[in-house]
Amino acid sequence: MKLVVCVKQVKVLGDEVGFTADSRDVDPDYLDLALNEWDACATEEALRIRERLGEGEVVAITAAPAGPELALRRCLAMGVDRAIRVESAAVDPISIARALAGAVGGESPDLVLCGVQSSDVVQGSTGTALAELLELPRVAVVTKIDWSGSGPATVYRELEGGLIDVVEVDTPALLTVQTGINQPRYATLRAIKLAEQKEIPAVPAPDRAEPAYRVRRMFAPPKGQGAKILQGPPADVARQIADIVKERLK
């Protein structure tokens, strides 16, 4: 039994922002790197399925250019068996799905898990596009997985307003996992050290690039009217809040 988790090393923007000279992206100097939160949940879920079934291999795959590999290292430290990096500079979800397809399909997984979305590009589309390329049944925005390791799985999809749609999905399948499905484990110091020594093979991506869009211009959001700022020490702020509340609830 094999599980593949697709993960992304996301770029996290701090409090300040500056843009590249062509205004099409944020200047990398303003960006930190991290394992995408949704993908940490997907990784945790794959590990739990393996633990529940008592067997199986979990492989983490990312599409990224050469560079820091902290996302895959963290997955290894959490307990995935292997990690693979597909050599790709793709940014949009369709191109990332195309880059991942060969490596993921090559593993012939019984189940593929992706995070619902990434915190930097936030399109929520890579998993569903990847499923299509691999001709896998899929369910998006999954909050619970019930699967015996073979045959159809029963999963929850959480709709807007909290209504849960219970879906039976044939396997092999691809599921995109919502945060809240679990609390990702912390890796032990020892596991982190071991993960650092593991080999992460890089494989080439197919050269077919067909981006879903092109960024014309990236910019700081216009400051709306914005909030009127309540000044003063906490006691003054509290008093002003209490006054506003009293006035508005009249």
Binding site: V122, S125, T128, A129, I164, V167, A212, Y213
Partner: protein, 311 residues
């Protein structure tokens, strides 16, 4: 710009986002056709101003299944060649929209909150990097672009109009690989946060489960109902019934006091219609200050303590 809107419905009721998509489609010029896919599409009212044509496609499945929507929509796109296909940015759409885009080579953008035509070309605006920056996207070389539009941005198209209605046979649908079984209602709430006049909402900023009783007590003292943002529900600290936002409840209290909530778009979508929004956050750049009427850049625990002390 010819537009094809896909209607979203659940348990026999049209979802409001469908009417918002009509408004957005109209703004792009139209003509606007709406595809209604279901077991009884005629029962779903699509007579809204701005709709030129309703395309009813009867399928076996009463509820959404992504294989069914994908095949039907691929057929409609191939036949009609709309320049723009509009879906809601919803859980359902994420299950099939990107699959169609990759299969048919369409342009794609999701969670779009503004669209315009610029010199005849479509431009879609959306946020990146935790909503801290916005970007205009273009789709060079794409004959057709599929957009998932953020709910609650466009006003719903009002009832009226007299659209032409046509009925289409569904394509031969192969076995649906992900099948709807049943719906499970979210657990019944002890209180309905949507009914409250005054909500005290707390988020990730409280940092620690142990702090929740402090805010329960503060809510009681202020006469507020306690609500939370998604991270606290994800962490299992509070039930989903208390959650404000896209996967929780949409609320509209007279006063919304947000403490330690940065203001993810999904959260803002659920509370921006509140009468007066007051936000307390240590981060002066927090997105919530763009939506709040009043803001305080302050430590939420210190403010909470002072509020508790007030007579």
């Amino acid at each position: 710009m010819s537009v094809l809107v896909v209607a979203e419905h659940v348990r026999g009721r049209m979802r409001g986002v469908t009417y918002e998509l009509v408004t957005a489609g109209r703004a792009l010029g139209g003509p606007v056709a709406v595809a209604v896919i279901g077991r009884d599409p005629a029962a779903l009212d699509m007579r809204r101003e701005g709709v030129d044509e309703v395309v009813q496609v009867r399928v076996e499945q009463a509820e959404f299944e992504n294989d069914v929507y994908q095949r039907v929509l691929e057929m409609l796109i191939a036949e009609r060649r709309p320049q723009v296909v509009l879906l809601g940015f919803t859980v359902n759409s994420l299950g099939y929209g990107p699959a169609i885009a990759v299969r048919l080579g369409l342009g794609l953008a999701t969670d779009v909150f503004a669209v315009r035509r610029d010199d005849g070309a479509l431009v879609a605006t959306r946020a990146f990097y935790g909503s801290k920056v916005h970007a205009d996207l273009e789709f060079p070389g794409k004959e057709s672009v599929l957009l998932l539009l953020r709910p609650t941005i466009w006003p719903p198209a009002p009832p009226g109009g007299n659209p032409k209605t046509i009925t289409k046979a569904a394509p031969d649908l192969p076995h649906s690989r992900a099948r709807h079984q049943e719906f499970v209602e979210p657990p019944r709430a002890d209180v309905d946060i949507a009914d409250a006049d005054f909500l005290l909402a707390i988020g990730r900023g409280i940092g620690d489960r142990e702090k929740i009783p402090t805010f329960e007590q503060l809510a009681q003292k202020l006469g507020a109902t306690l609500a939370v943002s998604r991270p606290l529900v994800d962490a299992g600290w509070m039930p989903n019934s208390r959650q404000v936002g896209q996967s929780g409840k949409t609320v509209k209290p007279k006063v919304y006091l947000a403490m330690g909530i940065s203001g993810a778009v999904q959260h803002l979508a659920g509370m921006k219609a509140s009468g007066t929004i007051i936000a307390v956050n240590t981060d002066p750049e927090a997105a919530i200050f763009g939506t709040a009427h009043y803001g305080a850049v302050a430590d939420l625990f210190e403010v909470a303590e002072e509020l508790e002390k007030l007579p």
